[in-house]
């Protein structure tokens, strides 16, 4: 799952911080709680056993809790706690005696028992006039996030996100300035689009952290704020009292990403959106970007169109898509003749497809298109690789295609027990062709360097060519004609060697 993968990188970021910075982080109860949530399950268990116990614990005692099958998880848990400096050597200094980081222990206790939390969980404002509906927050968040994604895909007529979003996108190399001066999606940007929302937000926030460091912002402030956002409650208003100057600046940025909402009239209050509250939670019941956009679209439609037209469209959709219920949005069918049908209404899914498919027509619940040499080449020129395209098509394949592939594989296995073919969800012809199109792009391989020729005898040639191949700079040689080619970097070395050796004679 990509989400766990990205959580791991948040952990990695935390582990890379110097111990002093980590201890300052642990002063905030909300941050401790968030870090606790990101730890492996076994580590959570160990921390719970130690948090209310002041005295040292023997590592062997912890080990006894774990069955022999679980040694790997045990080592992982201990390693992750040690690298975060949550586990430290015992006070007595004896080997194998450990204790919990005292700063972390006291903050985490406060977080659990509700002691002095120093506003690290935000200041709730309780007043009738401040209530904002959850639907409105969801729509706001989806709208902001959608704007960023749409801009990346390059949908025409979309709003351009604010300047600091653009800065972040270029800084994180998700987009880069093309030769014409416009921002263009990169290889990483395409991979980014294929992840789920939670992973996407974390990617951006981690980049934000890296950028914050170069802007002389204190990483502790930034992290505390991010983790605090994760602990806030949806639909409540929070006051910015108690936030540091850095955090107030961040509040503006987070608003641009759609993580928090502020009323234009009152910048002193902010409302976390669902994008923020799901940051450190394990529950994956959040809607995907395309899902969120669908609901936004539906709302928009029902307002614009009159009721009868909407009803008719719905009926039609029910008839056409009678069998397509419970099918993930964007499920696609790819035929051996390179024609592609995608059951999607979301403009974002369609925009992503249009990066490498020549789209032809759009219907109420699907789009049709064709994979052509030109469409694939356009994508390849933009830095998207053939493997990425194939992976995207495979993960979005319609369940029907998967079933067909399974049936085919069963038949094959019946005929030949030793058949080692894997499951082929996509037509192999199309997969191979996409790969061939990529190969076709670089029909020639060129190296800069120098051609050595005009040797007096074979000995001279042999001496230099063996030296060049020994130091690994020989790219081509022809023994009969006594010529060889060395790379640009190796040339100086070969010439030096030649001067030394040939002068001696």
């Amino acid at each position: 799952m990509s989400a766990t993968l990205f959580k791991a990188t948040v952990n990695e970021y935390l582990e890379d911080l110097p111990p002093q910075v980590q201890s300052r982080l642990y002063a905030s109860p909300a941050t401790c709680l968030a870090i606790y949530r990101l730890l492996p399950k076994l580590a959570k268990f160990f921390i719970m056993s130690m948090v209310f116990n002041e005295s040292d614990i023997s590592l062997r005692d912890l080990d006894r809790w774990v069955k022999s099958e679980g040694k790997f998880q045990f080592n992982e848990a201990i390693k992750s706690m040690k690298s975060l400096h949550l586990l430290i050597e015992g006070k007595t200094g004896q080997p194998f005696m450990i204790n919990l980081n005292p700063i972390f222990r006291s903050s985490f206790r406060n977080a659990l028992t509700g002691g002095e939390v120093n506003n690290s969980f935000g200041n709730v404002i309780d007043s009738e006039s401040d209530i904002v509906s959850m639907a409105m927050l969801d729509q706001y968040a989806a709208d902001k996030w959608e704007t960023i994604l749409h801009f990346m895909v390059g949908t025409p007529l979309t709003k351009t996100p604010s300047r600091n979003v653009l800065n972040l996108l270029t800084h994180s190399k998700l987009m880069e300035n093309s030769s014409s001066g416009e921002l263009q999606i990169t290889n990483e940007g395409f991979q980014f689009l294929l992840q789920d929302v939670n992973a996407q937000i974390w990617t951006l926030l981690l980049q934000y952290l890296r950028m914050a460091e170069t802007l002389q912002m204190d990483p502790v402030d930034v992290l505390n704020f991010i983790f605090m956002l994760g602990a806030l409650e949806l639909g409540k208003a929070y006051s910015d009292v108690g936030l540091s100057e850095t955090q107030k600046v961040m509040l503006q940025d987070m608003r641009d990403y759609g993580l928090v909402f502020q009323k234009a009239s009152n910048a002193k209050k902010f409302y976390p959106t669902r994008l923020a509250t799901m940051l450190t939670s394990d529950t994956m019941n959040i809607r995907t970007a395309s899902g969120a956009m669908n609901s936004v679209l539906k709302q928009g439609n029902s307002v614009k169109e009159d009721a009868s037209a909407a009803l008719a469209a719905e009926e039609e959709a029910a008839q056409v898509g009678g069998t397509t219920q419970n099918i993930p949005d964007g499920a696609l069918i790819l035929e051996t003749n390179f024609k592609l049908y995608s059951y999607s209404n979301s403009p974002l899914q369609i925009a992503i497809l249009s990066l490498f498919v020549h789209l032809k027509s759009r219907f109420t619940n699907m789009v049709t298109g064709q994979i052509t040499r030109e469409s694939i080449r356009r994508a390849l020129y933009n830095g998207i690789t053939a493997d990425q395209i194939i992976a995207y098509l495979e993960t979005h394949a319609h369940p029907q295609m998967r079933r067909l592939a399974e049936i085919n594989l069963e038949k094959k296995l019946e005929l030949d027990q030793n058949c080692k073919d894997g499951l082929q969800i996509l037509p192999p012809t199309v997969v191979d062709q996409i790969k061939l199109w990529q190969l076709e792009l670089d029909r020639i391989i060129s190296y800069d360097g120098y051609l050595f020729s005009d040797f007096e005898d074979f000995h001279e040639y042999h001496l230099l060519s063996t030296y060049a191949s020994d130091i690994g700079v020989l790219l081509w040689k022809d023994e009969k004609k006594r010529r060889f080619f060395v790379s640009q970097e190796g040339n100086a070395q070969v010439i030096d060697y030649a001067k030394r050796k040939l002068k001696k004679k």
């Binding site: 029909r443 020639i444 010439i495």
Partner: protein, 72 residues
């Protein structure tokens, strides 16, 4: 005394080599030396030109299913 000559080594199929030779035939300023069936020494500043030229020549031989549909 041996001689070192600056250039770009190009590695390709014999068919592509033939195409490069053909491109060079009219201009004579690209290929510095023909090394063997799959290797050529060319002017390093002309590598990008060769690539675009090859793409143009190869695209002429590609069947595009969309052309047929657009002009039946």
């Amino acid at each position: 005394m041996p001689r070192a000559r600056k250039g770009a080594l190009v590695q390709c199929d014999p068919s592509i080599k033939a195409l490069i030779v053909q491109i060079d035939a009219n201009r004579n300023d690209i290929i510095l030396e023909e090394l063997d069936d799959t290797h050529l020494l060319i002017d390093p500043t002309k590598v990008d030109f060769i690539k675009t030229e090859l793409n143009r020549l190869l695209s002429q031989n590609i069947y595009d299913p969309l052309d047929e549909e657009d002009n039946p």
